[in-house]
Amino acid sequence: MGLHRNVGDWERVASVAIGAGLLVWAARQRSGRATTVPLGLWMLTRGVSGYCPVNHATGRERARDNTRRALGGARGVKILESVTIDRPPSDVYALWNDLSNLPRFMPNIERVDVLGGNRTHWVGRAPGGIHLEWDADVLQRIPDELISWRSLPGSDVATAGSVRFESANGHGTRVTVNLQYDAPGGKISTALAKLVGQSPSGETHEGLRRLKSLLEAGEIPTVTGQPHGKRGTLKLPEWVDA
């Protein structure tokens, strides 16, 4: 993990606002700058970097550092999506069990580094193109049946989830993803994303559809990169494969 963030999102916004306010105020004062300027800079740095040595020294953590607290009850975004793939559970499990394969089919996962043992480092995208990183531990691996995971303290995202692989009575494998997460902006950013047609459930569904194509057809259908005439003003939104 590059940067150990230990300041909450809203706290960071507030820090930047207060820091900037202090600097503007200091610029208008004749005296007292010796205190206000360093304090303003301190607040700005703390807000922009997301790291606060005082929080670190006092052991103060953000809400997302405790997965159980961040995702308990009605908190966090919940996703339940499934797909049937015409391949045996062992094939589907094998592809998923190497977590570095996930970016091949999950639209909002950019990279998964397997760090050894059960530790993994994830790089993803939130609605609006926000870049997020988190570490997670695989909690359970039952060959051909189940994989579950949970994020670690200090991550941008608190997440816990599982993927189940069940035989679909001679029709291949039923794959079910059960996922919870809390990311910057939380439910508000999820609601805003829905307004433009993006939803975490939809993206997970899309990811499972691509996994199905990858396993059944050996490739994921796409039209990205094919020719077209002048696009003009009648463009489709950028998130349509066009």
């Binding site: 015409d86 796409t222 039209v223 077209h228 696009r231 066009a242």
Partner: protein
């Protein structure tokens, strides 16, 4: 290359666009030697199909010569003459394995749009809006054919383009109408409408053993074509009627 691009209701333009390239391992590139305009291209032309975007290349009835193949296409060779069905099918999902190619699960990259509108998505189609995949069509000098190891039929040298081009869409459409009517040898069959699909339905009815086919239309020219089609068949006749009700 040159291609026919959609720019809005009743606004089609021949434009210079980049040549297509192989994108996926099961793709092929076909140099188009013949292409047709389908009745359903009129729905695009008249602006009735949603999720079209300016610059989309039309055309889903085409044939030609294979000029490039992806690394996983093993049943085609460069130089093969092929006619390409308009439905794009992976050949490996449960629908494809049951022969329901037009319901392929793995050929529409924008299946979610069709699911939102219709509840379920069918296969991807060439040149027929983004909700059916947004694939560039064959009313162009070259076309990219996905899952090229499944769709294209190789055409023997002795058959002309005109003899096989209609296998891409319109002949199977007429044939399916006749098939749905469960025609048996000796049947008398009526076909309403003697446009191109109707003519293929008449032809298919004869193939299935119909004794007599009654073609119904109000356009004299179409009835004449239906009569000519029947005359080329020595043992049966098509009786053509005109219908004022249309």
């Amino acid at each position: 290359m040159k291609a026919i691009c959609w720019h809005g209701t009743r606004d089609l333009r021949v434009e210079q666009v980049p040549d297509p390239a192989i994108i996926n391992p099961r793709d092929a590139i076909v140099r188009v030697t013949s292409t047709a305009i389908c009745g359903s291209d009129l729905h695009l032309y008249d602006g009735f199909i949603p999720t079209m975007a300016a610059g989309d290349i039309l055309g889903h009835e085409f044939m030609g010569e294979v000029v490039e193949i992806g690394k996983d296409v093993r049943n085609l060779a460069i130089g093969d003459r092929v006619v390409v069905p308009f439905t794009i099918a992976c050949g490996r999902c449960e629908s494809c394995q049951n022969g329901q190619w037009s319901l392929c699960d793995n050929s529409n990259p924008n299946a979610w749009i069709a699911e939102k509108m219709y509840g379920y998505s069918a296969s991807g189609l060439f040149g027929y809006s983004h909700m059916y995949g947004g694939y560039a069509g064959g009313q162009a000098e070259y076309v990219r054919v996905p899952y090229a190891d499944v769709g294209p039929f190789k055409v023997p040298e002795h058959l002309t383009d005109e003899q096989v081009l209609f296998l891409s869409d319109i002949f199977p459409t007429g044939y399916m109408a006749a098939e749905n009517a469960e025609i048996e040898p000796g049947d008398v069959v009526a076909v309403w409408g003697c446009g191109p699909v109707g003519l293929f339905a008449i032809k298919s009815a004869f193939i299935m053993g119909a004794e007599r086919v009654i073609g119904i239309d109000r356009v004299p020219h179409r009835l004449e074509m239906a009569r000519a089609l029947a005359r080329r068949r020595s043992t049966s006749t098509t009786k053509a009627c005109s219908s004022s009700s249309g």
